[in-house]
């Protein structure tokens, strides 16, 4: 049983570019949440997708957008990258209304 997978593992971009990160949920999971973890800090909630709709959003600008596909996988898009967007981006998945979330290994994004 595969767990949560994310791609790519590492990414380097320059300021102003756009990036797309991908997440495949654990088998049986249909809720996907994205988190940003800056160096030395705890993860911060970006947004959550369920039934292909954004259900909740944290305190992040509209440059951060996402999508959930019919197979429950998800993408996180970040436009007009800033140096401060350099972080580990974590995907967490869960099952329906259940509160427990399981995390993927993350994508480390470096913006130069």
């Amino acid at each position: 049983d595969a767990g949560v997978t994310q791609s790519p593992t590492h990414l380097i971009k320059t300021r102003g570019q756009q990036v797309t990160l991908r997440c495949s949920p654990k088998s049986g999971h249909d809720t996907v949440s994205w988190y940003q973890q800056a160096l030395g800090q705890g993860p911060q909630f970006i947004f959550q997708y369920y039934e292909e709709e954004e259900r909740q959003r944290g305190n992040f600008p509209d440059r951060f957008s996402g999508h959930q596909f019919p197979n429950y996988s998800s993408e996180l898009n970040v436009n007009a990258l800033l140096l401060g967007d350099s972080a580990l981006y974590l995907c967490a998945t869960g099952q329906g209304e259940q509160e427990t979330q399981y995390f993927g290994p993350g994508t480390r994004l470096l913006v130069l």
């Binding site: 994310q6 988190y35 993860p43 909630f45 909740q56 967490a92 509160e99 979330q101 995390f103």
Partner: protein, 111 residues
Amino acid sequence: AQSVTQPDIHITVSEGASLELRCNYSYGATPYLFWYVQSPGQGLQLLLKYFSGDTLVQGIKGFEAEFKRSQSSFNLRKPSVHWSDAAEYFCAVARRRALTFGSGTRLQVQP
């Protein structure tokens, strides 16, 4: 809004010694509480969770945590630490499946 405080940024213990990591939360209703562990450069692994019922919960790797409503605390404990426990530990509270994390406690284990 909910919040989580982990007062200890860094803790060092000797291998075989007991461990307690502190977590305090602020939440208006009955909290859903979690402890996660993160090894360097890795994702987060769920150690244990508290939703309701018995206030002492058991997790993986020999960890346990005790929920104390009167103190708004959910401290993580382990009776005997192993060198492989060295990692960053995060306490979190959930609201509608969105987690709010503390800033983490880095655990160093001395031989």
